[in-house]
């Protein structure tokens, strides 16, 4: 018995195309001098790519909510680690 409908091959391929496009986008944007914005764009695109992989390739889109919580927790705790440390490093000098 299959719990969830199996996604079509087309979906996977489209996600892959989107990932490659985002890769080209981040690569291209890196060659434009946007100052501090570059880092933001790069990270936003990386987050978008990670989201695509997690939601489609890793099936979080159709997973039990506990699995989504587990995934989110990992990233959230990393944000805590870096974010609260920045209360020190970002204002040290």
């Amino acid at each position: 018995m299959i719990a969830h409908p199996v996604p079509r091959v087309r979906t996977y391929v489209l996600v892959w195309v989107a990932l490659i496009c985002l890769l080209l986008l981040t690569l291209g944007s890196a060659y434009m001098n946007l100052g501090r914005l570059n880092a933001g764009i790069n990270l936003a695109i990386a987050a978008a790519k990670a989201w695509l992989v997690a939601f489609f390739f890793m099936h979080l889109r159709s997973s039990h909510y506990m699995l989504r919580i587990a995934a989110a927790t990992g990233f959230f705790w990393l944000a805590i680690l870096i974010g609260l440390s920045l209360t020190d490093f970002a204002v040290r000098y």
């Binding site: 990992g74 705790w77 805590i80 609260l84 209360t87 020190d88 490093f89 204002v91 040290r92």
Partner: protein, 538 residues
Amino acid sequence: MSTVAVPLRGSYLEAGFSLWSWLSTVDHKRIAILYALSITAFFFVGGVAATLIRLELVTPAGDLVSAETYNKLFTMHGVIMVWFFLIPSIPSTLGNFLVPLMIGARDLAFPRLNLASWYLYVAGGLFTVGALIAGGVDTGWTFYTPFSTMFSNTHVIAAVIGVFIVGFSSILTGINFIVTIHKMRAPGMTLFRLPLFIWSMYATGIIFVLATPVLAMTLFLITVERLFGVGVFDPALGGDPLLFQHLFWFYSHPAVYVMILPAMGVASEIIPCYSRNNIFAYRSMAFAVLAIAIIGFLVWGHHMFVSGQSIYAGMVFSILSFLVAVPSAIKVFNWTATLYKGSISFDAPMLYALGFVGLFTVGGMTGLFLASLALDVHLHDTYFVIAHFHYIMVGGAVMAFLGAVHFWWPKITGRMYSDRWARFAAIVVFVGFNLTFFPQFLLGYLGMPRRYHEYPPEFQVLNVLSSAGASVLAVGYLLPLCYLLWSLKYGARAGSNPWRATGLEWQTPSPPPVENFVSIPEVTEPPYAYREKDRSDG
């Protein structure tokens, strides 16, 4: 849900008597025993180090051991007690034994991972003992850079590898607990029917899986920096030693909650049982456990108020530290309120549990002194800090661990111990503990820094008091070893529920059968329904 009936095949203790049957077991109860034996061994190794430390401090001069030896002693005391005793103490022994029993499961979700976790623990222990035998480590258990990476001439890498490995043992235990508690509860065992001990094991599991990997990678970076002279921590290389402290305490502060949350869980089991009363405010107790685990991750910077971190970081971490104290305070009040209108008897586990509440209250309140910025500037790195965290970890966690051992001993071994001796030991531990550590609060306020093997003569009286207390405490810790071992052979047989306690673990024979339950029970009532139980029992 199907209720699978399992034929009763005798107790888990009779499932095999060869050494190999123990070393290859995947039964959570047997693995708990393996853990219990190993952590007890490490407790006494760490205890010997503590004894030598207290002996050295009887006189102000450094006359018993050299400065070098002293530094190695307190390092080994810290490393062994933190990673090889306190962190695995309640979770890996009683947690391992009780989590499936309390939620009505046949085992943890991943029994082989569970055994692997014990082997990792042993492997980590061997590395650490190896470092000890090879000549010791002198960095302190905190491994601060650049001392640990560039200046110490001792066996830092072996000790660090030992701790690195034992970290993975914690991670595996944590994964096992989280999954088991989520996915393997008996029919009717809803989240808010879980015993509070289970809630505390769940919170502990969260800390294990989220904090430990950060420590592992940090220790890896230490090792590389020490081996190759490149890294991110040494300022001579353009690094930042405070980066190490942030990473280290991101693990090590939550690790303190790994020690105290299980202890809170134990108190929440014992106090209602001997008060014959329903626990006060069950839900807020459960939420408090989660709140402590989560907010506990946000306060690590309070170890760094005088480290040179920015004053704004100090403010943020200070206020968050006050916030995490609120759920702890709630728990203390709720335990007290559980006594109200109970019918209280004072068996040994109850004495340990009440002792725990008292000592934890003192430890928690003094923690707030240290969270207060201006006061911490004076108290930081003095004996006040030593006294504070020993009130939490020894007065709190070890008292509760002993209480738990006494409470579930009949379940684990099927034997009753001498309650009279046990009550005597509980009182000796309580008195010895206070005598050891209360003087250290005064020493700290007077300004005696920690990790000193010589000290100015005016501190001697208090140090002698503390050392005297330590000898009482040592007796208190040896007593249970004697009468508990005695009970294994001569103790009366325990029935399945000697304390007339609620909870699924008491509904199966003592010691439990291999498959835990004859048939998986169905849960129909909230936990700690002592009033209802006594009413129906008459």
